[in-house]
């Protein structure tokens, strides 16, 4: 059963990702990106990593996407943004991503209900094993990941800050 399920999920992932990079509107692209991440989560679930699949949904499709969407919406303030949002909600825009999502959901429900034994070559990794590895031999990797995040935050803080200042100066010039 693992074969067809994998191919459907993988096809959806590829299709959705192609749609992400060919959209001109960032919101549309983000919608497809969510679908693509969900499809990857189904693949992970299929291959015996239910914990990773849950993380993929919660962290990527959930938290990070919501943050991105918030940022995009916050940047578009003003009268035009309301009309813009109205445009985004046309059925033409959301019907295709929803369709892909429904296929994925159907697949997932089917897989969960099927109550089958895992295929012989798939080894299930439970959350406990992930935690033991991360805080056992790979503890240094976790700490290095912390350094990585720090570099990202400090860099983004500096660059973002500067941009605000140039905008400010630009406005001042306009007033003169």
């Amino acid at each position: 059963m693992i074969g067809p399920a994998f191919y459907i999920a993988a096809a959806i992932a590829v299709l959705a990702t192609i749609m992400v990079i060919t959209r001109y509107n960032i919101m549309h692209a983000l919608l497809y990106l969510v679908v693509s991440l969900l499809a990857v989560a189904v693949v992970l679930y299929l291959y015996g990593a239910p914990f990773m699949a849950a993380l993929e949904v919660i962290v990527y499709a959930g938290a990070i996407m919501v943050l991105l969407i918030f940022f995009v919406m916050m940047l578009n303030l003003g009268k035009e943004s309301a009309e813009q949002e109205k445009l985004w909600l046309k059925p033409r825009i959301w019907i295709f991503p929803s369709l892909l999502c429904i296929i994925l959901l159907g697949e997932l429900v089917f897989l969960v209900l099927q109550n089958h034994q895992p295929a012989a070559e798939v080894k299930i990794v439970d959350p406990r094993a992930v935690g033991m590895a991360l805080f056992g031999p790979y503890i240094l990797a976790v700490e290095l990941a912390g350094m990585l995040l720090m570099a990202g935050i400090v860099g983004a803080y500096h660059l973002g800050r500067q941009k605000e200042k140039t905008l400010h100066r630009f406005l001042e010039n306009n007033e003169l």
């Binding site: 031999p137 790979y138 503890i139 240094l140 990797a141 700490e143 290095l144 990941a145 350094m147 990585l148 720090m150 570099a151 990202g152 400090v154 860099g155 983004a156 803080y157 500096h158 660059l159 800050r161 500067q162 941009k163 140039t166």
Partner: protein
């Protein structure tokens, strides 16, 4: 972690602590001078932390890291280079930027990334180190936001580095899929056991080479180099040219040795083609440039090609030559960028060749230092660059790589032209009434640093024995 683990990872832990500490200090109170001094102290402490670690080598921190002579030597090299770049940075940023404190945090973090690469023996450590290095570099390259080219350079680096990381990850996945190991010795053992190199692993190595090659700036993954050298602040450009490339090179050697790369002629050919292409492209493209930063960028592409020739010779001498060349290249590159830093005014970097016209008659000392650095890049006797190149040729002769050696000699001759052209411009007598556009800053700390670098350069060129012995001792364990 045991006590020995702590001691062995001393330099890394010291710098990580310093990174967090400086960030908290910036959050509390901004003062350029204080942050600068703290960063200097942190680098000195990290350098001193190398000494107690010597007692415990070789030490493995399974599965991620390994601390042996080779990694410890390069840790020291990277820390010293970082320290020198730091010395050159203070004045440069003091004159240019309102918010200069974050630079030091990012510099520390980028150095941590390089140190992780040097000690890693596992894909995970490799990737984390590489990403720490790249993500810090995005911020550093685009640091001077007021300048017109810095945004462009930052975004270019961001896009290409992200793309190359994707290649690297996919390559790792392919290698892991076949061998079932992510640590380098494990991969080597699995491949030995299999007795051949399957197509998927071959493709994996190829993809990884793309990721690594991008960071090394070797042809055909070199497109970013000139634009980023031009757009980045000068100390950052020096960092990219030396520490970033050096760390990746060290990693490449360790990986190649651990997977017994010499057993697979296909791998050898891949690297050989890249090496020859890098030498030619770097030197040819440098010939017509009018911008010093771009010349240095292309020259560093060519130098990576020379280093790969030593790497490919497949003999013990080759690895020694590589380590020596790296030391010489670090000194020379930082020195050359140091001269450009010292010569730049707060308004404009001294980047065109015209800015150096008749430099010898205006600032004889700076011109002498620059001449020494350029001659070392060209490989003229009495400089470290000559001994480095000599060592590479010797390795090539020992390994019977006549074709590669022939290419190296041709390229050295091409390279001579643009280095000597710069020297000639500096000695040209300026016409009467000719005004130079850039008024050099000539900070005292920068001048002293340049003098130290010149002494090191000539010292290594005249008396290389001590360094050679150190390197020979260190390289014995690798083969």
């Amino acid at each position: 972690m045991s006590f020995v683990d702590f001691l062995s990872l001393g330099p890394l832990i010291t710098l990580s602590a310093a990174g967090v500490a400086t960030m908290l200090m910036v959050a509390a109170w901004r003062n350029h001078r204080i942050i600068y001094s703290c960063t200097l102290i942190a680098f000195i402490m990290a350098m001193m932390a190398v000494i107690p670690a010597i007692k415990y080598i070789p030490h493995t921190y399974p599965p991620l890291l390994v601390i042996d002579e080779f990694s410890l030597f390069n840790t020291g090299l990277i820390l010293v280079a970082g320290f020198i770049i730091l010395l050159l940075s203070f004045n440069y940023f003091e004159e240019r930027e309102e918010r200069k404190e974050e630079y030091y945090i990012l510099l520390i973090l980028a150095t941590i990334g390089a140190l992780v690469l040097v000690v890693s023996r596992h894909f995970m450590a490799l990737f984390l180190g590489l990403e720490i290095l790249s993500i810090s570099l995005y911020g550093l390259i685009a640091y001077l936001r007021a300048r017109e080219r810095s945004d462009e350079a930052g975004i270019k680096y961001l896009m290409l580095a992200a793309l190359s990381s994707a290649f690297l990850l996919f390559g790792m996945a392919l290698v892991y899929a076949f061998t079932g190991h992510m640590d380098f010795p494990g991969i080597g053992a699995a491949l030995r056991q299999a007795g051949y190199l399957p197509v998927s692993v071959m493709a994996g190595f190829g993809l990884m080479l793309i990721g690594v090659g991008f960071k090394l700036g070797i042809v055909p993954f070199h497109m970013w180099a000139p634009d980023i050298y031009e757009g980045a602040p000068l100390p950052v450009a020096a960092f990219i040219a030396t520490i970033s490339k050096g760390a990746i090179l060290v990693l490449l050697i360790r990986f190649y040795q651990d997977i017994h790369g010499n057993d697979y002629p296909m791998l050898w050919w891949m690297v050989a083609i890249i090496a020859v292409a890098s030498m030619f492209a770097g030197n040819w493209l440098a010939l017509t440039q009018q911008n010093i930063k771009r010349i240095l960028a292309y020259s560093s592409i060519a130098h990576m090609g020379y280093i790969l020739v030593a790497f490919l010779s497949g003999v013990q001498t080759g690895l020694e030559a590589l380590a020596f060349y790296l030391v010489a290249y670090f000194i020379t590159s930082i020195g050359a960028f140091g001269v450009v830093i010292v010569m730049s005014s707060s308004l404009q970097d001294a980047e065109t060749i015209a800015d150096y016209k008749g430099l010898f008659w205006r600032y004889p000392w700076v011109a002498t230092v620059f001449t020494a650095m350029l001659l070392s890049l060209a490989g003229i006797p009495l400089t470290a660059g000559f001994i480095g190149k000599f060592y590479v040729v010797m390795a090539g002769v020992n390994g019977h790589q006549w074709f590669l050696l022939f290419m190296l000699v041709i390229n050295s001759v091409i390279g001579l032209y643009y280095y000597i052209r710069l020297v000639a411009v500096m000695f040209a007598v300026p016409a009467n009434g000719e005004q130079t556009t850039v008024v050099p800053a000539l900070p005292i700390a920068g001048n002293i640093t340049l003098v130290i670098l010149t002494i090191l350069l000539i010292g290594l060129g005249v008396y290389p024995t001590a360094m050679m012995q150190l390197i020979q001792q260190m390289m014995r364990i690798l083969v």
